[in-house]
Symmetry: C2
DNA sequence: TGTGACATGTAATATGTTACATGATTGA
DNA sequence: TCAATCATGTAACATATTACATGTCACA
């Protein structure tokens, strides 16, 4: 079974069609909510792996002097992608969510009440900024783009809305305590 | 600066007081929404690192024939923990959220409409089960436990509620499309 | 002509996983 | 007594990061 990054990379190649490793890296780097940096050291070996397994095919594109390799998903690749997406409906995978903000709140005891209140507000600001970003991304997909792209962006917005609401609760609770 | 797992482990030792590596592993393994498995191969080297840096101290506890080492956070450890928690208010960290369910929805194009509808419903079931779990955890903290423990559990519940609401939207949108 | 984006890749390092290895204690 | 839990740790492997290395192309 594909790992998370492998699935995401293969999925990108499926969605955008034949593209270079460089473009895949760029997508990962520019993705607003990304746990991956799209580093060369991860992407190139990963793509070699996918190619060896016959999940992608590479064609040298002699458009210019640059050593350009266009990557395309194969039929086996589509099968593997399908299997990976379908594996999303398990308790274990659903539980593999991680949110560094919640992790931090969990360890707020380490701070003084004043520090807690200050930090909660700062986190809230950072989160609100991030929410704005995801809202803009949603809006840009509303006009052009498929229904599924819209649903993807909607997920980010709803998640960040919930995080903002949560942090407001935290700020309120900390104020009441004082 | 501490990494995520280092911060979490140090935070656990801070919160529960002197405890063994085994207990830390158990907490990580049993944590409902965990991205880490608490494997021995990650925890023991990590604790060695923290000890070498003077962030924790170990005392051999000759309670019985077992080679038991009680780990306690030091003053420097508390400082490091504080710094790590406070580093949570940046755009970069706030963006480091990851949700395998949303990732999967993003690549739904790879499936047929029927498969999409089926999977969305299955994911919803898995998520609802997971939401129940986090609600129970919240309830158990309501009676006993600090306000901060309550806030931590509340974060999980609110996050999972948002995820469920989102997936219901997805299910609805997919049905309308057909 | 030089800077930034395009394009590929490797090396050293960090950090996590599974599987293995060992032994003591508790309780049915 | 035997299985589960407590308790520590290592070895092999997988996978990601940063930093390095090389070269082309577009455009100001």
């Amino acid at each position: 079974m594909l790992k998370e990054l492998e699935g995401a990379v293969l999925g990108y190649i499926f969605k955008v069609g034949p593209c270079t490793a460089y473009q895949v890296r760029k997508l990962l780097k520019e993705s607003p909510s990304s746990r991956w940096r799209g580093s060369a050291g991860s992407i190139y070996p990963l793509l070699e792996r996918l190619e060896r397994q016959g999940l992608i095919e590479a064609n040298d594109d002699p458009a210019d002097g640059r050593a350009k390799r266009d990557l395309a998903i194969t039929n086996n690749g589509k099968k593997a992608l399908k299997a990976w997406v379908k594996a999303g409906a398990t308790r274990e995978l659903v539980a593999e969510i991680s949110d560094p903000v919640r992790t931090r709140v969990f360890f707020f005891d380490a701070l003084t009440p004043n520090e807690q209140a200050r930090l909660a507000k700062d986190m809230l600001s950072a989160l609100e900024e991030f929410l704005s970003l995801s809202r803009e991304s949603l809006k840009s997909r509303e006009s052009s783009g498929s229904a599924l792209n819209h649903l993807g962006a909607l997920g980010a917005v709803m998640s960040n809305q919930a995080r903002v609401t949560y942090l407001r609760e935290v700020v309120k609770a900390l104020e009441e305590k004082r």
